[in-house]
């Protein structure tokens, strides 16, 4: 078993945190090998940001694979730039509030979740990444949702006022992901 995931978007959208939470939850709850690799460089708020998560039952080779099984894109630029990097049969999760371009290929599944609008509904754009993480877990069932939620609350729960908001955001995403999967 080996799963390669890339998360890409604007700096400030919490792109790194999606990858970090997912890999942390994998480390905490499974015996799989897992790597989290943040791309680094001259990034800034509004610039591009991306990271990679590799989960494997063997030693992880490259933590920055050139072809991935799954891609999460939080903005349109990332969709256009990275849609060709997805393995045939893979999945692209899109923030459909901002991603207007299509995959332009029919050998991958596209899971559109309007996370920017959903986060605005909750009253804070800050949690759009948590909505997306929820949707990803809801669709893939990769890790037990309660374990991921524990991880979110542990890593982001330092400010009590955000606990409820994060819980709501995760539940909202989870629900949306499950609905797309069932459809």
């Amino acid at each position: 078993m080996e799963l390669n995931l890339m998360v890409a978007g604007f700096g400030g959208q919490g792109v790194m945190m999606i990858g970090k939470l997912l890999s942390q939850a994998t480390c905490d709850s499974t015996d799989y090998n897992v790597t989290f690799y943040p791309s680094y460089g001259a990034q800034q708020r509004g610039g591009t940001a991306n990271c990679y998560v590799v989960i494997s039952d063997r030693e992880v080779g490259s933590p920055k694979p050139n072809i991935v099984d799954q891609l999460i894109v939080m903005n349109d630029v990332s969709m256009v730039k990275f849609r060709t990097n997805v393995q045939s049969g893979g999945i692209i999760f899109t923030n459909s509030s901002l991603v207007k371009s299509g995959a332009e290929r029919d050998d991958v599944a596209v899971v559109p979740i309007p996370v920017t609008e959903m986060a605005m509904e909750l009253g804070s754009l800050k949690v759009l990444n948590i909505v997306m993480l929820g949707a990803y877990i809801g669709y893939t069932g990769l890790i037990d949702e309660n374990l991921v939620l524990d991880c979110i609350l542990r890593l982001l729960g330092k400010k009590p006022e955000f606990i409820e908001l994060n819980k709501k955001a995760f539940a909202m995403g989870l629900d949306a992901g499950k609905k797309v999967k069932a459809a």
């Binding site: 897992v34 680094y40 030693e59 080779g61 490259s62 920055k64």
Partner: protein, 363 residues
Amino acid sequence: MSNKVFMKGCEAIAEAAVRAGCRFYAGYPITPQNEIPEYMARRLPQVGGAFVQGESEVASINMVYGAGAGGTRSMTSSSSVGISLKSEGISYCAGAKVPMVYVNMQRGGPGVGTIQAAQQDYFQATKASGNGGFRMIVLAPSTVQEAVDMTYQAFDLAERDRSPVLILGDGVIGTIMEPVVLPEMKSDEEVAALKAKNREWAIVGHGRDEKRGYIQPGYWSNDMQEQHCRNLEAMYERWEQNDVQVEELFLEDAEMVFVAYGTSARIAKNALEMLRAEGHKVGMIRPKTLYPFPSKAFDHINYDTCKCVLDIEMSIPAQMVYDVRMAVKGRCPVDTCLRSGGNLIERDNILGKAREILTGGAN
């Protein structure tokens, strides 16, 4: 595996150093190793240690030279161009037999290079880390776990030999997060006992009747300097006998043997697994110490079956290949598979090159 934690390479290295008894760190910021000083700034005061952000790399290495001369387990870290700035001080530590550990998270190319991962500092690490022809034990971790284990061990090696030890990583090892089991924290008593043992040579303030500590980076007498160089040479020979660390895979039946270290090695190992699943008999030598280089491992290759030894590095031009050729001693052709400039080597680069050689015959 309940005691595993998920940590970034740089932070895991810093924590391992603290657990090994490191109580002094001085450094100057540079990507991709900033999380080491950042972590140390927070962590060292908690254990009664001292952290200094020096005004420059030159200042930092000389602070480490001073702290090490006082018998405290000391450390610095930097990246490529910053290591060049530190090289005079590193040479002083080697010449004056001051133990210390330093980390180089390599970047891509000469000058400032790129800040992404590469392996362009092999020569600097193993052949000329400063003036004077000294050598050091150079440890090259391939995973965060190995980086932790090697850092922990590095302080013991440095103190045993009174010599600098280098951990040679890159931007991948420094920035990835991986599950890791941390080594045991040395108690305050253990750390104090280690320091007390250094009293026989360290500058700690000796009494009138005691043999005094003496740290000198050179000698006034040519004969004394020559003898010093001979003593160092004898130490390097002991390392070659006792301190080589290497991983060898499938050498007995290999038609092709990969040689790779650090980040390149984990990708090469992945390619090896795929090739073996296809029926290609590929073996691998992964040097864990780049100095002393595991030359003897190359005697375990079956040269009746081996068509080619493939040196895989994130360096252009290749650097480790010189040590590989010396170890192969002409017994089969040596080829290279290279990426650099901050571009990670891809599994497909290795698979392509290997298949070309395996199906087309040796070059």
